[in-house]
């Protein structure tokens, strides 16, 4: 019963997320609304951590395999991608480097600065 209850809570929140997506005209997916709802529920103790923890951690652990179908689906996009493959590849790879560097270094610099001020 423990897992059933936990999975049910997570599914009900997903459902609520789906409902919000349907009524709010903003391109935010059900999963993001759901994540925010669960986070707020945990913070306000409306849902206890133990009530979702085991099922949630299981889902997170197997999350990588959930991307396999989308990755395999790339074979069906080959036709549309092929004509602009070179520029798209360059932009995709370069952006990962610049974004990770910007996010990582800006936050790291500020964390270090804050820590110095505390000391």
């Amino acid at each position: 019963m423990k897992y059933l209850k936990q999975f049910l809570i997570i599914l009900l929140i997903s459902l609520l997320g789906e409902f919000l997506k349907a009524i709010i005209p903003f391109p935010v997916p059900a999963s993001i609304y759901g994540m925010i709802i669960l986070f707020v529920c945990l913070l306000t103790k409306l849902i206890k951590l133990e009530d979702v923890k085991d099922a949630g951690k299981f889902l997170i652990e197997i999350m990588p395999v959930m991307f396999i179908p989308a990755g395999v689906g790339l074979v069906t996009s080959w036709g549309v991608l092929q004509p602009i493959l070179v520029p798209v590849s360059i932009i995709t790879v370069v952006t990962i480097f610049t974004v990770m560097a910007a996010t990582g270094l800006v936050s790291q610099m500020m964390i270090k600065k804050d820590n110095k001020e505390v000391q």
């Binding site: 997570i10 929140i13 997903s14 997320g17 789906e18 391109p27 935010v28 997916p29 059900a30 999963s31 993001i32 759901g34 994540m35 669960l38 986070f39 945990l42 951590l49 979702v52 889902l59 997170i60 197997i62 999350m63 990588p64 395999v65 959930m66 991307f67 396999i68 179908p69 989308a70 990755g71 395999v72 689906g73 790339l74 996009s77 549309v80 991608l81 602009i84 798209v88 360059i90 932009i91 995709t92 790879v93 370069v94 952006t95 990962i96 480097f97 610049t98 974004v99 990770m100 910007a102 996010t103 990582g104 270094l105 800006v106 936050s107 790291q108 500020m110 964390i111 270090k112 804050d114």
Partner: protein, 230 residues
């Protein structure tokens, strides 16, 4: 036999999981980031489909159940986020500044490279939401008049490359702080990068989860402004 393969309800998920197992095993055995389990499993599954002549649509009839789990799994990312709430609160400024810097850098990089490579406006807006989670990215691309199918493909490719190169890039730029590693992975390569962040550690995973939501929403806001620039 082929008829059985075409009709089986469990084959697609089984093949996906077995190929992920092969990927994990190869990674353990050869200890190299290039043998990324996600990449290996995608390649193995594609080869299996080619070998057996099963179409993607047939495969996806069974495999869609894996995709179906993505929403509850993403909802569950709130759990590590909640567990790291104190850390998040204490570093709120750095976290927000990092994600914002990443989002603007993403849009700016796509703008400059699209100009340099001579892309059309439609191609440019197709790529603008490439770093964020699929469902938000699709919406942005559609609204700006991009080619949504290409956006989805590029988002997935971005995630997979981020998942493969993430640790290497952190080393390259000397990003050592766990919070920063997580933010960088999540902002650059959304949920697929977050799957990698979860493997690295709990703090990395939590920060990456947060980045998916914040970077997604910030991109919705900023993309409209950037769309007018090319």
């Amino acid at each position: 036999m082929k008829e059985f393969l075409q009709q089986s309800s469990y084959l697609a998920v089984a093949v996906s999981l077995v190929s992920y197992g092969i990927g994990s095993w190869l990674k353990k055995k050869f200890k190299t980031g290039l043998l990324n389990p996600l990449l290996v499993s995608i390649v193995c599954t594609i080869l299996f489909l080619f070998g057996t002549g099963i179409s993607y649509d047939t495969y996806n009839e069974g495999a869609k159940f894996l995709t179906w789990l993505l929403t509850p799994a993403t909802v569950s990312l709130a759990i590590p986020l909640y567990e790291q709430w104190e850390l998040l609160k204490n570093n709120a400024k750095a976290v927000m500044a990092g994600i914002t810097a990443g989002v603007i850098t993403s849009l700016l990089t796509v703008l400059l490279l699209s100009m340099a490579l001579g892309l059309t406006h439609e191609e440019y807006v197709t790529l603008l939401p490439k770093s964020i989670t699929t469902a938000i990215g699709m919406g942005v691309s559609e609204e700006l008049g991009g080619y949504v199918t290409i956006t989805v493909a590029v988002i997935v490719i971005t995630g997979v490359i981020g998942n493969i190169l993430g640790e290497f890039i952190c080393k390259l730029f000397r990003i050592k702080e766990p919070i920063s590693k997580g933010l960088a992975l999540g902002t650059a390569s959304h949920a697929i990068g977050t799957a990698k962040a979860m493997e690295i550690g709990e703090i990395e995973g939590a920060m990456s989860s947060l980045s998916i939501a914040v970077a997604g929403i910030l991109t919705v806001l900023f993309a409209t402004i950037f769309a007018g620039l090319l």
